[in-house]
Symmetry: D2
Subunit: 388 residues, 4 copies
């Protein structure tokens, strides 16, 4: 009999993790972007690749778009294309960091005309959402400054509020805005939304449809991320996750690769706080596959989340509570670690097979020939990256 109970399997069956279209394009560092054979040349090919992840795992039914990188002539057409491939279009991500006008800010810019342009870009993103049926507008602000004195921190914060209000006002009844925070980069002295507190204060000032997006790679060294997960769930303001992992900065590595135990702790707090399979809390990946293959990189990622979710569901919460109440530190820790130390992979493989999925999605994908096919077919054109 499986170590995964029916309740656990039922929870796992409902799990879905949104994939970022840009993870299938090329990415890199400021020093170099390496290309790989088979990289998509347009949004249609990105979605076809994303669909491979879902086909092998049943974990990734939606694909997030990034505007303007994923602009197409007809989003109706793109939507049908996605559906033909077994997936749907998800969160729409805005971009205010690649236009020359935004060198010194966008939603926070000193110049009202540039703020207007940035706000209009977001309104256009909501238009896309209307066309794609997306619920969430995700705003990551690359804004900040590099030198002390360069920027008026307070004025920017006030202008940010004003800009966000105008965007918020345009949201449909069933649409939401999620505001991502980030410790640093691309700005190196100050960032306008650097921490969860700032994002929380800003979205709280907007209304119920504005929430915080927590990217697991966007914190200061040593930050206890599961604490923030707990707090945002407690405050009713955790809108979504951008999953990835890091050793140093915003490394954007495969989720669970750098510190699997941290991912376990985060998922335990998600479960504990009612955030698992809760439609209000979107699970997304936001990663860069700079040196590894992209499609299997994404498959590995969703499997890591699934595996750690299974382990976190294994925590004997009654025994844990009893140990916590009695101040028995070692027993409480042991109950917690017992779940983390359990190898759920065989049970997951068996369960996958029972559902008509490959026991080993990585091997199945490798055997499928898809990678070779796209490497051969996708000749010519410009490989997609962070700019197209």
């Amino acid at each position: 009999m499986s170590i995964l109970t029916l309740d656990i399997l039922a929870a796992l069956e409902k799990q879905s993790i949104e994939l970022p279209s840009w993870a299938f394009g090329n990415s890199g560092t400021r020093f170099k972007v390496f290309g790989t054979p088979g990289t998509p040349r347009d949004p249609y090919e990105k979605i076809a690749d994303a669909a491979q992840v879902h086909a092998h795992t049943a974990l990734a039914p939606t694909v997030a778009l990034h505007i303007p990188w994923d602009l197409v002539d007809s989003f109706d057409d793109l939507r049908r294309h996605a559906e033909d491939h077994g997936v749907t279009l998800g969160t729409v991500n805005s971009n205010t960091f690649q236009d020359d006008d935004y060198k010194f800010g966008a939603l926070t810019h000193e110049d009202a005309a540039i703020r207007r342009k940035a706000i209009d870009h977001h309104l256009a993103c909501i238009d896309v959402m209307d066309a794609t049926g997306s619920r969430d507008l995700k705003i990551w602000l690359a804004e900040g400054s590099n030198y002390p004195g360069q920027a008026d921190l307070r004025g920017r914060q006030d202008r940010l509020h004003d800009s966000l209000q105008q965007i918020y006002a345009r949201l449909g009844d069933d649409q939401r805005l999620v505001l991502e925070y980030k410790f640093f980069e691309p700005a190196f002295y100050h960032t306008d939304v650097p921490d969860w507190g700032t994002s929380y204060a800003q979205v709280s000032a907007l209304g119920d449809k504005a929430l915080v997006c927590l990217d697991t790679g966007h914190h200061a060294p040593g930050t206890n991320i599961e604490f923030i997960v707990m707090q945002l769930l407690r405050l009713g303001k955790l809108g979504s996750f951008d999953f990835n992992s890091r050793f140093y900065a915003d490394d954007d590595l495969i989720v669970g690769a750098a510190d699997p135990f941290q991912l376990f702790r985060i998922l335990f707090e998600v479960i504990r706080g009612g955030g698992l399979n809760n439609p209000d809390v979107a699970f997304m990946l936001d990663q860069c596959h700079n040196v590894e293959d992209k499609i299997p990189g994404q498959i590995r990622s969703v499997l890591n989340v699934q595996e750690m979710t299974a382990r976190a569901l294994l925590v004997d919460r009654e025994a844990l509570s009893a140990a916590q109440r009695s101040g028995d530190v070692l027993t409480a820790n042991a109950v917690f670690m017992d779940a983390f130390s359990t190898d759920v992979r065989p049970a997951l493989a068996e369960w996958r097979e029972s559902r008509g999925l490959p026991a080993d999605p990585m091997a199945a994908y490798a055997a499928s020939g898809y990678q070779q096919r796209i490497a051969e077919e996708r000749v010519g054109g410009v490989q997609a990256g962070w700019g197209a």
Copy 2:
């Protein structure tokens, strides 16, 4: 003519920085507490020492108390003692980290009886405030856990809210509660109020008389502290500062010693946000003089704050705004750095003399013979430290 205008001098004249009584006792690390000749044996001697700082600088008219370290038979008597020495009693600090009952928490403890005890301690602190005429109750929570699984993060947060509410309810009309946050220590896995966001969320749930206390040494590596200062002033929730400086963790070094430019930036945001000489924003020191003399250590500290305040007041804010608005990064930074690079010490010395204060308070204290006197007189008894 002085480089410090009359407006600047007027602002500096109003500045006051509260001293912590415990800075005059012995302190150290977990490895060793070194004693020094002349260390006070009781609250009366601590206040006498604190009064020396004020006498030489006119910057430190109030002294914060720590309960139970500063418990006396009659706070009326202590108050008169302070006034006789030219200072008054200030913020009352509670202590829920040295009783064996608090090993696993105090305001957050699983056991209602221990929470009750911790709440009652705070009510007793408010009784002290009534007797001393203090306005602020400062709560620093040493609570947290050392191992994943040890504690129920969410339950503790809810219990914290409940406990704080009961304390808040007891505050007089003119009294306030300030809640300090701290990144880590003494707990090493999670801390119940680890960041400004948590403190802000907790005090916002209480009411207008609850505010955040920002200790400059309580942040993750790399945190932009002046940004938090700006944000809390913007949100109307910055109640007080605990000034000190750090290279690594909560080092509690002399304010301005580790990164004088950071102190300058913080004070600039205080001024910019209306927090200077604003009674709603208390300036306090919270430091440990582990290896240096305590009274001159405190004199050095208040002078550092004064000096950086003077430099921050020198910023040409019109020129700064103009450069910021035009995106002229180098000029904006230059305007900012021009103030920081200015040596205000001669002008401050001259101004001190004009007010009947010593031009060089450090030298004047050294020449006063006070240190030798207390070293000779304070023989016998137990030197005050973190426990008495």
Copy 3:
């Protein structure tokens, strides 16, 4: 059949991890040291407790001493006491951080008389080693400064070399000196041996019997510790490990508790570099059980090391090399993670039983009644801590 091959079991059987006598005494933070019933009152009781760890695990046959905390009238007697309890005495740790003379340094002090005193202390430690049959003298230097300008960094380094040379000259042919490095604490501005490079440069200047001690909690945030392990093994200068774990600073938590994957990576590099069961590379614990029970805390620790060693031994190194050589990032990582994800606990339990050891040492210790017995018997006297 076990997932652990005979080769792996043979390697595990040879593993030994030295316990620190001080882990059985009380410890805490600068804020508070909590006592617990049953805490040893003298070195004899500490060794009796340490012997319990070995009795239940067969992993901890030696106990490190700390001088002067473990000074006894007769080390011959203590040695026999240890042997009677089935363990032997191991590394001798010096202490130059608790004498008032060492406020500003010991081996690095400006004053030759104080340096002499500190050197003599180390010579006395070698006398103890002669009596106990210990091989290693471990030097952790708490020396440094708190304020820029306080100390002459260069002069101290030169004096350190001179002092170490005098100590080194006294070592017997079969004795060694291991020099520990630490990022910070108790000094907060500079530490005289802050990083592996400094320790390496200092011990290289002494000779073959001087090596580096790597404490896993003594690094800057984000440091890749397994890289240092690899490098020191490569350079032939890794003398010993002080195992523990940390989230923030030198938290001294149970090894493997904060980041089990990091412990796995470290042990993989130990194995890869020939450091496992290599007498030249001593495995030791250096931990503080501030809030958890001490004896089971130590049992948990050695089991964590054993478990991660087993997982690290499971890495399919041929498959790993093949993937590395071909630049197949995802496969190399998968081979590595496959070992880490394997639950070796059932196989280890079975193997323990086959050797006459308890399958579950934690449960066996709890059931042994030892903890209750010492709690009842050890009444009166002064509980051991960092000072006795």
Copy 4:
């Protein structure tokens, strides 16, 4: 009379800081590279711009080249071009991070053919040095891995040694190799030369002509950089500095912009250790002017170094030593801070004028019309960046 004595002025007069040719081209983050009017299109224009910095400051007589970015048909011609503009060509920087072959390493690669290619690139760089008369070959290795298991840490270290030996063997009698270390980026799990210890161990294994290059932005958070400066000078292995500043990662901001006090402390240790105006210790900038103008950004940078050098030369070292010897922490710190707090700008301005230089080089450059001229003239062509 100037606060800068004749000795100090004599020292300042000898100071020279090498400029990196690439600082005059465009740079940015992985998110965006902003262009600016007037950016050079080729090495000739970069050198013309660098010469402007020297013309206004007399501080920057040499320009470092980066190969292949600065490849030209005739280095003799480029050398004459430089001399015509009043500067000379300096350190040659190799590049093994932008060729597709180097995705998984260069000097450390598993494949001998790729290592050969990387070694040959360095030999070609030495050919350039022969042509330009450059003394130093600077090697910054971007090599490392992103995922645990991806790479054989130890094998790479051994191969690195082998590759470096082959390069070292080709150096002329008066040529040197300096090996830069870097904490992370572009690799996110391990970097092959991550710390000064590794660079020191590698160059020590080569010989006297191999030294360490210390980039001030390449350390873990909290690292005491001046300590490393002291240690490398003590060990005779500090070959050169790459100056810049940072708040978070390798931000490459203007030197002195993030933490001027740190720059002061570093320069004090340089002076203390005999590294100032010592031909064995090269001063270079390595910065990115992502959002600010490049030529004035470089002028600001060399002025910052000069100003902090002047302040560091003002330290009263006798008084400092006396206070250090007597354990007078506050006085030692006060002597140190007194120099740091001194405003040397008026004295430097006066001294510049006395030498026929502009009192305010920033203003003089702005008034020169050069920026407008290049903005108008440099139309067409491709602006230089990290790739041309």
